[in-house]
C-alpha cells in the first residue's frame, strides 16, 4: 500500500476508494454531548485498545493527539483526505490513529466516537473494506460498542445507523461535467440511495472535475451489498464518461490538454483554482494517451494545495502561495 495520491493509477477515472466505519462505545454519550473529561477518557480508551492488541497490524499504527499538530498541518491532512473537514474544525480533545502510509486513519471524537477510514488508490473498495473490517474486529475485541440487534451499530446521526458504513469512490469526470451530465447523474444515483458530491464531501464544490459517489443507505443493506452496488454504479459512470470521451474532437482535445500542460509548466503565478482546472485537463490528456510524459496529476494536485504548501514552507499570504505553487510545479514538471 502507499499514499493514495502518490501511486499513479491505471484505472484513470477512479482516483481513489474509501471506506469509513462509524462506531461508538456504549455507556458514553455521543461526542456532541460529551464533556472534556469524557473526551479525554475516550481518547485513552481507544489508544490502549489498539496498543494492547499487540497484533502486527496494530504496530503499523501511530497515535497522534490532534492538539499537538500545527494548524497548517491539520488542514494539510484534510487536503490529503486523512481527516474530514468536520474533524479539522475543532482539534481540541480529538486524536487520530494513523498508519505510516496514511491509508488507515482512525478518527477519535468526530461525529462518532470512532471513525475507521481506509483510503486506497484506484478502484479497490473490497480491499479497503477488508482492512477496515479487520481494524473494526480488532477494536471490538477490547471495546464495548453500542450495538442493537434491530438497529445495528448505533451512531450519533441516524443516517449512519446500521452498518455505519460509508463507501465512496472519487471519480474524475471532466467530460460528463462539461456536458452538463452531473446533475442528472446525481438524480439517477439519488433514486437508488447513492449520492454525488464534490471532492471534499458534503457541500464542497469540485474544481478539478473530481466527484465522490457514496452510499446513503446504511440500514437494511449489508456491507457487501452496499459495496457491490457502488461498484456497479461506478462502472456505469465510467462507461458513460468513456463514451462521451470517444465523441470528442481529437485535435481540440490535444489543444486543450497541451495548453494546460504548457501553462502549468511555465506559469509564474498560479491560483489553487487555476491549478485544479489545468490538472484536470492534463489528466484527461494523459488518460486519453495524448500526453505521454511521466506525470502523476493527482499527486501534483494534492501537493499544490494551499495548506500542503504552507505545512511544508511555513505561513504565506495567498499571493505568496500562488507564486510558490507555480515555482514548485515548474520544478516538478521540467
Amino acid at each position: 500500500m502507499g499514499r493514495w495520491y502518490k501511486e499513479n493509477s491505471n484505472n484513470s477515472i477512479v482516483v481513489s476508494s474509501r471506506i469509513r466505519l462509524a462506531r461508538n462505545l456504549s455507556g458514553m454519550p455521543f461526542p456532541s454531548r460529551m464533556n472534556d473529561e469524557q473526551r479525554e477518557k475516550l481518547k485513552q480508551t481507544v489508544k490502549s485498545a489498539i496498543e494492547e492488541s499487540n497484533t502486527p497490524f496494530a504496530k503499523l499504527l501511530k497515535y497522534i493527539d490532534m492538539s499537538s499538530v500545527p494548524e497548517n498541518e491539520v488542514m494539510a491532512m484534510v487536503e490529503r483526505h486523512v481527516i474530514s473537514p468536520e474533524f479539522a474544525k475543532s482539534v481540541k480533545n480529538r486524536a487520530i490513529i494513523l498508519s505510516d502510509d496514511e491509508s488507515i486513519s482512525i478518527m477519535i471524537g468526530e461525529e462518532d466516537h470512532i471513525r475507521i477510514q481506509v483510503i486506497l488508490q484506484g478502484l479497490q473498495l473490497e480491499k479497503a473494506y477488508d482492512i477496515a473490517e479487520r481494524i473494526d474486529s480488532l477494536l471490538y475485541e477490547r471495546l464495548h460498542f453500542a450495538f442493537d440487534s434491530q438497529l445495528g451499530f448505533l451512531t450519533e446521526c441516524p443516517t449512519n445507523l446500521g452498518t455505519g458504513l460509508r463507501a465512496s469512490v472519487m471519480l474524475h469526470l471532466p467530460v460528463c461535467e462539461a456536458q452538463g451530465e452531473i446533475q442528472s447523474l446525481s438524480e439517477t444515483v439519488g433514486k437508488i440511495g447513492f449520492t454525488v458530491r464534490g471532492m471534499y464531501g458534503e457541500g464542497s464544490k469540485s474544481e478539478a472535475s473530481l466527484y465522490q459517489v457514496s452510499n446513503q443507505i446504511t440500514l437494511g443493506l449489508s456491507e457487501n451489498n452496499a459495496i457491490r452496488n457502488l461498484e456497479i454504479i461506478t462502472n456505469q459512470i465510467i462507461e458513460k464518461e468513456m463514451k462521451l470521451r470517444e465523441e470528442l474532437d481529437t485535435l481540440k482535445l490535444e489543444d486543450l490538454s497541451y495548453r494546460a500542460l504548457g501553462t502549468l509548466k511555465y506559469a509564474r503565478i498560479m491560483s489553487s483554482k487555476e491549478m485544479m482546472n489545468l490538472i484536470s485537463k492534463i489528466k484527461l490528456g494523459l488518460d486519453m494517451g495524448i500526453i505521454k510524459e511521466e506525470i502523476n496529476p493527482i499527486e501534483l494536485l494534492v501537493e499544490s494545495g494551499p495548506f500542503m504548501l504552507m505545512s511544508k514552507k511555513g505561513e504565506m499570504t495567498a499571493k505568496e502561495r500562488d507564486i510558490e505553487r507555480a515555482t514548485e510545479l515548474r520544478k516538478k514538471m521540467t
Binding site: 442493537d148 438497529l151 446521526c157 446500521g162 452498518t163
Partner: protein
C-alpha cells in the same frame, strides 16, 4: 424537447404550478430546475432533510417532548433540532418517534449487516417492555388519545400472547 429557460439542454423536468388561480406549465433541464428550486431532495444535505422531517414530526408527537433520555438527558426536541441523537440509549427512549424516519431515510428499520460476535458486547434489543407500554397506555387514556391508546393496547396483547405461547 429543449429546456425552455436555457434553450440548450434537454428538458427533463415538467413543472406545473397554479398561482392565484392561473395555471402555468414549463419544461426545464435538470440544471435550470435545480436553480429554480425544484432540485433533487438529496442535494439539500441529509442532515437538513432529517432536521426538517423531525421538525414536522414534533407537532404530531408533542406529547413526548417532555420525555428525557435517562442516560444523556436529551429530549426529542434536541434530537429533532440537531438531527443527532445524544447517546445509544436515545434510540431506545425515542424509538417510536425515530422508526418512521429511519424507514423514510433508509427504506428499512432492520439491520442487515455485520453482527459483532465477541463477548464484551452489550446486545440489547430495542423493545419496550410491557410495563413501559402500560405506563404509556395509561397516559394516553388520561389524555383521551384513544386511537393511539388502541395501538399500544394491541401491542401489549400481542407481546403477552407471544410470551405465554
Amino acid at each position: 424537447m429543449k429546456c425552455e429557460k436555457c434553450g440548450k439542454n434537454t428538458a427533463t423536468t415538467h413543472i406545473k404550478s397554479i398561482v392565484n388561480g392561473v395555471a402555468k406549465e414549463i419544461n426545464l433541464c435538470s440544471l435550470c430546475a435545480a436553480n429554480e428550486g425544484y432540485g433533487n431532495i438529496s442535494n439539500v444535505g441529509l442532515a437538513g432533510m432529517l432536521a426538517s422531517m423531525f421538525g414536522e414530526s414534533l407537532q404530531s408527537v408533542n406529547e413526548n417532548i417532555g420525555v428525557k433520555c435517562s442516560v444523556c438527558g436529551a429530549t426529542f426536541s434536541n434530537v429533532a433540532k440537531t438531527g443527532k441523537v445524544g447517546c445509544a440509549e436515545c434510540y431506545n427512549t425515542f424509538k417510536n418517534e425515530l422508526l418512521p424516519y429511519l424507514k423514510r431515510v433508509h427504506g428499512s428499520t432492520v439491520h442487515a449487516g455485520k453482527v459483532p460476535n465477541s463477548a464484551p458486547l452489550i446486545v440489547k434489543p430495542i423493545q419496550k417492555t410491557v410495563d413501559d407500554l402500560r405506563t404509556q397506555l395509561n397516559r394516553l387514556i388520561s389524555e383521551e388519545k384513544y386511537e393511539q391508546a388502541a395501538v399500544i393496547r394491541d401491542e401489549i396483547k400481542r407481546m403477552e400472547e407471544n410470551s405465554n405461547g
